[in-house]
């Protein structure tokens, strides 16, 4: 999601919930540490900006290294999910 445009933590969690039709609900207690970890690893870059509501918010954007990693992870996810669905599909 942050690959498309810079987003703040709350935005990410809301988008996650709506896009997955409420199936995925990431606890905020896990979301923020995960974001900080990615920032620490240089996969995300954070900046402080005005939000739509006019308050200061921390926006996360993907970095070059982040996109590269995303590509890799997506591929491996595709492989894995394909494998799983293959296993689960009745013959």
């Amino acid at each position: 999601m942050v690959a498309l445009e810079p987003m703040h933590g709350l935005g990410i969690s809301q988008r996650l919930r709506s896009r997955s039709a409420e199936v995925l609900q990431v606890s905020h207690g896990s979301l923020y540490p995960a974001l900080h970890k990615l920032e620490h690893e240089g996969l995300l870059r954070a900046t402080w900006r005005q939000s739509e509501s006019g308050k200061r918010a921390k926006y996360y954007a993907i970095t070059k290294a982040g996109s590269k990693r995303l590509g890799k992870e997506l591929k491996s996810w595709a492989r894995l999910s394909h494998a799983i669905s293959f296993v689960l599909t009745p013959p």
Binding site: G9, L10, E41, G42
Partner: protein, 886 residues
């Protein structure tokens, strides 16, 4: 992961941690406010909205903040700081304990750094010559001891090597040149080196002033190059010294040049003040090239020492085979110049290094055992921490931080201690010689300190940390509250550490006892003469006032009378060798034919009254007296060893004839007791065969027309310590041109000869004493701890009528078991390794039962005393008080 970003992020977290925290808080506040707003919009009350927002974060923003901080490593830094604070607080809270452990480590680390600095300066700092590792030096050695020089090489070996060697790019010969210098105000002996022209090129160093020696100087060899020290201290240090003359043993030498201050050549660990050309056209170098030299060479590029050794040995073997009297019974000994320069001190340095390593290990284990002991008292604290969620890694880290802190404090104090100790060592100079490079706290020494700290931190910290954290909270807490018995592994580890500490102590104690006994043997070994109140004066005078043996004998009688008149002097006699040195070696024949393999014997020339003055017993025949005049029957006296070797017995020797080299036959008129001598770099006293000739018949320099100086040692026995002025006045009143270059007391000379064993013994004794103290400390701690833990048990048993002995056994049993185990392990280890000390022992076997018994006994005694002392506290407890306190 991108390392620089990570580093930057860590940097931010450490330096800007307040900003990092604020950022996280701001972000979370934004989240909550937005959530609350949207919730209020959808109809909730602000309070409910706030609660819901918090719930979505997992209940509290603090927890989320902590989790975020964990992710970016702030926690790690924080935890370390907190552990450090905790450790420092523990140390402060228990100043007695802290002083003991930090003091222990300071002494051990300080001693390690000091010894390391000294060893480094001697053995590892390169000599100050260009490419010093290419410089080698050669002697001849006995086949039984191929690495110890036994005799000098013949001059012809130098000629052969120079002509034929491919492994040495430069070859030079050198021999010691002892000279006396007499000025209007002063007279002194000085040691120089006679060298062949290639010497300075071989060393690769040019002069500071003037020039060095060249092959042209052979035409007029009365030239000299001075050392920087000699030039500064004795010649005034003026550059105009070049071209002036310096009188060496009465012969004027033109000063050619002065060497730079850091040019210091040593041979057999002796230092030299000047260099003169080697007179290869004079005796004994002229005839058959038999004159003594050592050969200093520079290895050709890429040639290893062993290759050179093989080549030089084969060249010498071929050359020597051409001569009937040859050196082929010796082997060629080639070593690096640095190895030669450290020949006398190396054994001492290695011994002391091993001892200091043992001390460091003992100290580390001791501190480890103390930390374990205290850690056991903290089992409950650790268990509670584990129970409320501390991970094993966190516990280990926390306990380790403390020992790192202790090692660090100990290391810092140790460095300060080492700095002082090094200065003291240099000032004290207990080995009688200092390395060419300065000893000091350099980077290498700091590195050594770091390694020592790391070792102590690991030994003393890691084991206790792992052992204590092994206790499961359930066991520790259910075992009985504050009195909880700690986990068995921790107890076992503590006992193992104490056993290890004692075992190493036993090894150190055995080594020390062996060295003490060696020194005692060296001190008490009969030297064959009475050294007490004996002094030696070195007298030098020109030969020209004599001209004939009669005149010289009259001079000597007058001198003896005058010297005996000095208040306090009881006996006086002259001789050519000072005590403890064996004198010149000559071949001796007893049969009608000159055997080519005739034995060699030390020859000394002495005046009448010599044996009386030294208190050497006459075993058969008579001493020299007035019958042995210059023109009378030529006579000699043998010592018992020579009489036995040559004639099979003391009485059998009387009346027999001997012949030295090709001199006239002489009759043996007496046999005297053996006088011991030393040979360089050997520890033991040696009984050499000695032949004495009467000075009245043969101060050989008189017969040598080339000799201009005449030197002998005046042996004086006196009731008081003589001063230089006493002797000089008496000597000058007989002949104003004579000079006294040296006055030494014989007990001082003996102390000098035993300097290395004495130093080894002193230092190891100090280390052994510290190790005993540490063992005592360890056992004391163990028993105190056992008493504390069992106070309740003891009280109950006392109440039930247990006897004092039973109580003592209960609380000391474990400590004594540890002591006995440590002694047993140590004794076996010492037995296996004591052979390494063999070369340093004299008059005592490396497996000497007495030494082992003494070492074990000392440790057992100390252990028992240290165990019983705190145990009595358990005996004195009042059961009522203890049980009521429950």
């Amino acid at each position: 992961m991108l390392p620089w970003l990570t580093l930057r992020s860590w940097f931010r977290s450490v330096v800007l941690r307040r900003r990092v925290d604020r950022d996280i808080d701001d972000e979370l506040r934004f989240h909550i406010e937005e959530e609350v707003e949207s919730a209020v919009r959808s109809g909730l009350t602000p309070e409910d909205a706030h609660r819901a927002a918090l719930a979505s974060l997992g209940g509290s923003s603090t927890l989320v903040r902590e989790a975020c901080r964990d992710q970016i490593g702030v926690t790690l830094v924080d935890d370390f700081a907190r552990d450090l604070k905790h450790g420092a607080r523990l140390l402060r809270r228990n100043p007695g304990f802290s002083t003991v452990v930090i003091g222990t480590l300071a002494i051990a680390i300080g001693a390690t750094v000091t010894v390391f600095s000294i060893v480094d300066a001697w053995l590892f700092t390169p000599l100050r010559f260009p490419q010093p590792d290419r410089l080698v030096i050669a002697f001849a050695a006995e086949p039984s001891r191929p690495s110890e020089p036994a005799v000098w090489l013949p001059y012809r070996a130098y000629l052969a090597w120079k002509a034929r060697s491919r492994t040495l790019m430069s070859v030079s010969g050198a021999f010691v040149h002892a000279a006396d210098v007499t000025t209007s105000t002063d007279a002194y002996s000085v040691l120089g080196l006679s060298v062949t022209p290639e010497f300075f090129r071989t060393m690769g160093v040019g002069p500071l002033l003037g020039r060095t020696l060249s092959a042209d100087d052979d035409a007029d060899p009365r030239v000299v190059v001075l050392s920087h020290g000699f030039w500064k201290n004795r010649m005034g240090g003026s550059p105009s010294v070049v071209g002036t003359t310096l009188s060496l043993s009465g012969e004027p030498h033109v000063v050619l040049g002065v060497m730079p201050a850091d040019f210091e050549t040593r041979v057999l660990d002796r230092r030299f003040e000047f260099w003169t050309p080697l007179r290869h056209d004079a005796d004994p170098y002229r005839l058959g090239g038999m004159g003594p030299v050592t050969i200093v060479g520079r290895l050709a590029d890429g040639i290893p020492l062993d290759t050179a050794r093989t080549e030089l040995a084969s060249i010498s073997k071929e050359t020597e085979a051409r001569y009937p009297l040859n050196f082929n019974r010796f082997v060629i000994n080639v070593t690096s110049l640095q190895a030669d320069n450290t020949r006398t001190v190396r054994a001492t340095l290695w011994t002391v290094s091993a001892a200091v390593a043992a001390l460091l290990l003992i100290a580390a284990m001791n501190v480890g055992a103390l930390l374990l002991g205290r850690g056991l008292g903290r089992t409950r604290e650790v268990a509670i921490r584990a129970a409320i969620g501390s991970s094993r890694a966190q516990l280990v880290r926390q306990l380790m931080t403390e020992s790192v802190l202790i090692a660090f404090c100990g290391g810092l104090a140790g460095l300060a201690f080492a700095d002082i100790a090094i200065r003291l060592f240099v000032a004290w100079n207990p080995l009688g010689t200092l390395p060419a490079s300065t000893i000091g706290l350099n980077t290498a020494a700091l590195g050594a300190a770091g390694v020592a700290m790391a070792i102590t931190a690991m030994v003393s910290g890691l084991v206790p940390a792992i052992r204590i954290s092994t206790a499961t909270p359930h066991e520790a807490l259910s075992a009985g509250g504050a009195r909880g018995h700690a986990a068995a592994p921790a107890h076992r580890a503590q006992a193992a550490m104490l056993v290890g500490q004692m075992a190493v102590s036993v090894v150190l104690l055995v080594a020390t006892t062996l060295l003490i006994r060696t020194f005692a043997r060296l001190q008490s070994a009969p030297l064959g003469f009475d050294a007490a109140n004996l002094s030696i004066a070195n007298i030098v005078l020109p030969t020209d006032p004599f001209g004939s043996s009669e005149k010289r004998n009259i001079y000597y009688r007058q001198l003896a009378e005058r010297v005996r008149a000095i208040p306090g002097v009881r006996a006086v006699a002259g001789g050519t060798s000072p005590p403890l040195s064996s004198g010149a070696q000559m071949t001796v024949n007893t049969g009608p034919d000159d055997a080519t393999n005739a034995p060699r014997i030390s020859v000394q020339e002495i005046t009448s009254g010599f044996f009386e003055t030294l208190n050497v017993p006459v075993l058969a025949g008579r001493p020299f007296d007035q019958r042995d005049a210059a023109t009378g029957v030529q006579v000699v006296i043998l010592n018992a060893r020579a009489a036995h070797d040559l004639f099979g017995g003391t009485i059998a020797a009387i009346g027999r004839r001997v012949r030295l080299n090709r001199e006239p036959w002489r009759e043996v008129v007496g046999v005297v007791g053996n006088v011991q001598s030393t040979f360089f770099n050997t520890l033991e006293w040696q009984t050499m065969p000695i032949l004495y000739r009467p000075a009245s018949q043969s101060f050989s320099t008189i017969e040598n027309p080339e000799a201009t100086r005449f030197a002998f040692q005046l042996h004086l026995r006196s009731d008081r310590r003589l001063t230089m002025a006493d002797v000089r006045d008496a000597v000058l009143s007989v002949n104003a041109r004579a000079s006294v270059t040296e006055l030494r007391s014989v007990p001082d000379m003996i102390a000098d000869a035993t300097k290395q064993p004495s130093f080894r013994m002193t230092l190891l004794s100090a280390f052994a004493a510290i190790s005993l103290l540490l063992s005592a400390l360890g056992v004391y701690g163990l028993v105190s701890q056992s008493v504390n833990q069992r106070l309740r048990e003891v009280a109950i048993r006392r109440a039930l009528g247990a006897r004092t002995a039973d109580v003592l056994v209960t609380v000391t049993y474990r400590a004594l078991l540890v002591g006995v185990a440590g002694i047993a392990v140590g004794a076996v280890t010492a037995f296996l390794f004591s052979d390494a000390l063999k070369a340093l022992l004299y008059g005592v076997q490396s497996h000497d039962v007495m030494s082992f018994a003494a070492a074990a006994g000392a440790l057992l005694g100390v252990t028992t005393a240290a165990a019983v002392l705190p145990a009595f506290r358990a005996v004195r407890v009042d059961p009522v008080n203890i049980l009521r306190a429950e």
